[in-house]
């Protein structure tokens, strides 16, 4: 584009074309990346049925099984089981726990799934005292989804 022979109208079209193409590329790139890299949300029975690749960040949601919370000797790591009413999976978390993270409460863990163990980098616990452990008994996957949607 040397400009000398280019009329204003043409320049406008070229600019518009370039901008549209770039924005389209951005959109396609986003769509591709969203399909591939979005960190998906799992409940225990799903993560056992269709485990994600080991290096992918995912979220795991469910109820902390009563009596399953064990502090490791280092004082900062905790191991516990998370259930959706059908299956339960072991979770390990090292860090400072959110105040409302207790046995029987709902939790969403962010982290990785490797060889049957979920290593959490972060725990999101429901910040609401109204939640009662009773609700978790006999919970279906749908209900778990719903409860967990309210968590965070």
């Amino acid at each position: 584009m040397t400009g000398t022979g280019l009329r204003a109208k043409h320049q406008r079209l070229v600019l518009l074309g370039v901008a549209l193409v770039v924005l389209l590329v951005a959109g396609l790139l986003a769509a591709w990346a969203l399909r591939n890299q979005a960190s998906y949300f799992y409940v225990p029975s799903e993560i056992l049925a269709k485990p994600p690749e080991a290096d992918r960040s995912v979220r795991l949601g469910g109820m902390v099984v009563r009596g399953s919370m064990k502090d490791a000797p280092d004082g900062v790591t905790v191991n516990f089981l998370v259930t959706d009413g059908k299956q339960q999976v072991p979770v390990r978390f090292a860090g400072i726990r959110p105040a409302l993270f207790v046995e029987g409460s709902g939790v969403v863990a962010e982290g990785h799934w490797t060889n049957g163990l979920f290593t959490a980098d972060n725990l999101l616990a429901k910040h609401d005292e109204k939640y009662t452990p009773r609700e978790m008994q006999g919970m279906t996957t749908d209900q778990a989804h719903k409860t967990i949607a309210e968590t965070k």
Binding site: A30, A33, V76, H127, E129
Partner: protein, 660 residues
Amino acid sequence: MLAELGLAMLWLAAALAGLQLVAGSVALTKDGEGLGGIVRPVAVVQGVLAAAAFASLIWLFVQTDTSVKLVAENSHSAKPLIYKIAGTWGNHEGSMLLWVTVMGLAGGFVALVERRLPERTMMATLAGQAFVSLGFYAFLLFASNPFQRLNPAPQEGNGLNPLLQDPGLAFHPPTLYLGYVGLSIAFSFAIGALVTREVGPAFARAMRPWVLGAWIFLTLGITAGSYWAYYMLGWGGWWFWDPVENASLMPWLAATALLHSASVLAARNALRAWTVMLGVVAFSMSMVGTFLVRSGILTSVHAFAVDPRRGGFILALLAINIGAALVLFALRAGTVTEGERFEVTSREASLVFNNVMLSSILGIVLLGTLYPLVTEAMGVKVSVGPPYFTPMSAVFAVPMLVVLAIGPLLRWRHDRFKRVSPVLAAPLAVTIIAAIGFAVGGVTSTMSLIALSLAPGLAVASVLPLRGRHLGRAPLSLWGMVIAHLGLAVALFGMGADGAFTKERLIAARVGESVDVGPWQVKLGAITPVAGPNWTALEADLVASYDGASPDHLKPQSRTFWAPPQTTSVSALHTRWNGQLYTVLGEETHDASSAAMPTGRWQLRLWWKPFVPMIWLGGILVALGGFLALLSRVRQDLKRRTVRARGDIRRGDREEREAA
């Protein structure tokens, strides 16, 4: 009584907005020009009334008048005064009233001082502003009345979410709102210019200071919000790509693009339709952000209300405002005449590039933010996080930063790359040296390496436009650009440093025990209980010594509020020139065998974060650059106005003499 008075003033303000819309529109017709005289005063009074309504709500909060539902639900008499005041906008209704107030005041301010535009365009602009305001008045009055009474009045209020009881809250939301809503002025200007077909340099010059003002507040608001999340959440992160953060980033990206394209339009009379379009997009992004945050579609600290009716209302407002603006744009875009031409190597072209890249990042963020909502509607729960946002936005941010280094050195309209390439050798060399240095030095993360190598080169390039100039005589607007671009480089370096150099230690320590983190040695001195106005806490005394130097004391807390009952950890930070020590206190650990047995070991999370405060320092520099540019625009405008006034007087004198 005050609550009723506040509500009455709100109704009156809404009625005036209606009058402003009607009078402004009628004034555009041939017969109705006479009505034009009332539009400006009406806009001013409307703003004042909205502000008075907001002031009465603040006063109700200060008095903790629990007969007002909003106060009862969100305040508590034992709260410190500053959080009683801040609590006014720490909830849905109050924050929407703040929104309307800022919008009214901004409209009134424009009506009062803006004299550059042709009067017809001004009428259309003020009518447009009133149109948007009316929607929000309706939302406030019909779906979220802040002055609703509660009968019987409870003895005591519910209190404010402890996470919000922080000085950051007193400052961060109002600042962001000034930015969000300030963009409504750009929106109205765009509408006004489209209606009267006056899209040209004069329009851009008139709009630019308003966009700049809003953009400065947005920049400061985002910077403050990021710092608030950093020290308040105790996670040590400064940006989480949380939907609410994205909601503030999107208008900022659009406003940044608008700012630059308005400069092209003002200086070179090019990019006309594009600038108008960005004016519409920028405020639309503010409204999308409000919809995301206020509709309860997202659940986070910021989503106060989970009320589908409100979500529907805001969505309808969004559709009407954006839809109407886009229709108007489609009808009038053809009549916006051709702008001036320019070549590929020119400052205009580099600004076009910057605009397209900013818009692409905006698209990436928008799609990533909306995607989970779309899939959830189809029954699949997905969360999109940093693994998507960071690399995808970097794809467009990196080329933009490269062009940012070159663009300001180019001349308008036409330039040769040969002319600037020798000058660019310096920043290029700095970038390469930095890249090699950090790669050899052991920076492994690709993102950090890119940021750390680009930042120094960008810093050098951003001051290059000052070369060969007398620094004292360089125009203020040039200084503004240089400082804003430099701020971006500074922030970029901080971001890279966070990923590359941060050291973390997580331990359970006994009192008297020492821990090393990076160059620091930290000793847990003591754990003591302390009490505040509405909380109690356990406080750790951490004795931290940098590289053997004399120690500093840090006091992180684990704080328990009783209204509402909640525990939060309050981090303690120590800032040096080369970084920040970040400490968080957890709980006392329990014995593995019996949960009730205390062990005397306390959880501590320690971070050494070299150069990380540069992120916020950079943000402040960017805002300062914007402020200098604004100052220069306002000064030029005042000068022009006085010169013109003097000319008028002189001409008047001469005419009188000649008449005599």
